[in-house]
């Protein structure tokens, strides 16, 4: 319990640092939100009025405090560009039902591919199966996922018609159609992470298979499958989970690209347009929520350690 509380506290601290960093980095930006709203021809009096309305005439600390106060209540301010005055919180709330299931599906797929393939490769080290798996992993690492996405849309969506070529219906309107439009993006998003995780699982397994207790398990006549799955894999997963976090972070970040390829109205696409349009409240809100999601994924992974590794459970 102490272990999880400590991790939870660390996560909240990191989130606070992220919020301060994004807020203050963006504060030093050249460019004036009031100008963005009214245009460069606006008269100085009107500009002053808009600045006062947005609260931009107050000291930066006060602005940050009022922004943070809003965030706690679920209010991220108003967008400067999206049919002007749209609440940032509403835009984010509309994007999450796209991005969260997409990321969850991709994480599941990446794990479901990497753990069996990595284990198989390690147990057949140097043999054909190992070489084929390593070859696939090398290809998955080198082929740009967005390129594969563009080609997959042409083949599976346009030519074969199995999936929509882009976009996504609302879950409430067409749940099956929504799910269907996430399958191809989730596969593309999972591919590079599956490739790296396969290698990580393989390396961890090879380390474990050198251990004395594996020799003991073999020596007492356990079947090889039992040795590898029971004694090997359960221990390999402990060391895998310590490096998997960074891969899952990369996967969540990859939604920015994949949502663009498949025109999915998710958080990644919202962040991208916020940045390209220089819509500050939207950039602050979306990056904050994006960071929160990444930290939450990390926290879930951290809470897996005690389950995987009894030593942490015992000591803490």
């Amino acid at each position: 319990m102490m272990y999880l509380l400590k991790k939870l506290f660390g996560m909240l601290a990191t989130l606070a640092v992220v919020s301060i960093l994004t807020f203050f980095t963006l504060f030093v930006l050249p460019g004036d939100p009031a100008l963005l709203i009214l245009g460069t021809e606006a008269d100085p009096g009107a500009l002053e009025l808009v600045r006062a309305q947005l609260g931009l005439d107050r000291p930066v600390i006060v602005q940050y405090a009022s922004w943070l106060g809003g965030v706690v209540r679920g209010d991220f301010g108003r967008s400067l560009t999206f049919s002007r005055g749209y609440a940032v919180a509403d835009l984010i709330a509309a994007a999450l039902p796209v991005t969260l299931p997409l990321a969850a599906m991709a994480i599941f797929l990446a794990m479901a591919v990497a753990i069996p393939l990595g284990t198989l490769a390690a147990s057949r080290r140097g043999k054909t199966a190992d070489k084929i798996i390593l070859g696939f992993s090398q290809a998955g690492l080198s082929i740009p996922a967005f390129w594969l996405g563009i080609l997959a849309i042409q083949f599976f969506a346009v030519r074969l018609g199995w999936f929509p070529p882009g976009g996504m219906p609302r879950w409430s309107a067409d749940p099956l159609g929504a799910l269907n439009s996430l399958i191809l993006p989730a596969l593309i998003l999972a591919l590079p992470r599956a490739a790296i995780l396969t290698r990580i699982v393989r390396t961890a397994m090879l380390e474990i298979l050198k251990e004395d207790y594996i020799r003991t398990a073999r020596g007492k006549g356990l079947p090889e499958t039992a040795v590898i799955l029971k004694h090997g894999l359960s221990n390999a997963l402990v060391s895998v989970s310590t490096v998997a976090g960074i891969q899952l972070i990369q996967l969540v970040a990859g939604t920015v690209v994949v949502e663009q390829v498949f025109s999915l109205p998710g958080l990644g696409r919202l962040i991208l347009s916020a940045v390209l349009l220089r819509d500050l409240p939207l950039v602050q809100g979306t990056i904050f929520v994006g960071a929160a999601i990444i930290l939450a994924v990390n926290f879930l992974l951290d809470s897996l350690y005690p389950i995987l590794d009894p030593r942490i459970r015992g000591v803490q």
Binding site: F146, Q250, L276
Partner: protein, 265 residues
């Protein structure tokens, strides 16, 4: 070089040559539009076809590799220089300095490259400069962590203790005795990092955050080709193939170097 596999190097040299030749010669002007020739399939005149403005795709690929290779070179050079100093200071002196340096590196390491690029673009605007900032920042903690790990295991070895017992200065020990022993590991990472930087540059310019039109970059070409990929598949296939071959080349070069320099693993 007995036992060294050349597969990766051959790919790297081929893609680098293609880009180098592009500085002196391209079959056509890469930015010149030709409406009569738009969306032309591969032919003798246009070996890889043309795009929606009738621009020659081979010429654009030869020029479009520049931002990718530039990102790789800047990311690896600056990442190595700053990261090695960073990691060497942490791994040689240990103590509170190490704690501060490595905490910062860990924090930086956990930020995805895309996020750094998005922040850089918010501050500097879209363009190659923002991408160079992002890929460099992504590589500094990687080299710092690697160098520190190497230094920690090397600093207690006999040859270092002997050098210290002889009264050599810290700087001399670090540069002449420890650093050369880190080179194999750093070299392998440099190759892998080069591959990652090429991939990052391509993804980011695909998102419209990097090289701006009319100048070509492999990622940007894919972004433009996506709109007419059904009419002109060659416009979407070849730039992606260029990225994949370059990335595969540097990744395999890393593997080949690892096998050659460290046959144990």
């Amino acid at each position: 070089m007995a036992g060294f596999k050349w597969g990766g190097s051959v790919l790297v040299i081929a893609m680098a040559l293609l880009t180098l030749i592009g500085f002196f010669y391209t079959p056509h002007n890469p930015t010149e539009m030709n409406i009569q020739q738009r969306l032309a399939p591969p032919s003798l005149q246009h070996p890889l076809g043309t795009d929606n403005y009738g621009r020659d795709i081979l010429s654009r690929i030869m020029v479009g590799g520049r931002p990718a290779f530039q990102a790789g070179m800047v990311a690896v050079t600056l990442g190595l220089l700053i990261g090695v100093l960073w990691g060497a200071a942490a791994g040689y002196y240990r103590g509170w300095l190490e704690e501060i340096l490595m905490r910062t590196a860990d924090g930086l390491y956990s930020l995805p490259t895309i996020l750094m690029a998005l922040l850089a673009v918010t501050l500097l605007g879209p363009g190659q400069a923002s991408i160079l900032v992002a890929v460099t920042l992504a590589n500094i903690p990687i080299f710092a962590r690697l160098t520190r790990a190497q230094f920690i295991s090397l600093r207690e070895r006999e040859f270092v203790l002997a050098a210290r017992a002889l009264g050599l200065k810290d700087l001399r020990i670090i540069v002449l005795h420890i650093l050369p022993n880190c080179l194999p590991t750093l070299l392998v990472q440099a190759s892998v990092s080069f591959a990652a930087a090429i991939l990052a540059e391509a993804s980011l310019s695909y998102l419209g955050l990097g090289t701006q039109p009319p100048h070509p970059s492999w990622g940007r070409m894919l972004k433009e080709a996506q709109g007419f990929a059904g009419l002109a598949p060659w416009a979407a296939v070849f730039p992606g193939l260029a990225i994949a071959l370059a990335v595969l080349g540097f990744n395999s070069l890393g593997d080949n170097l690892r096998d050659y320099l460290d046959p144990k693993s």
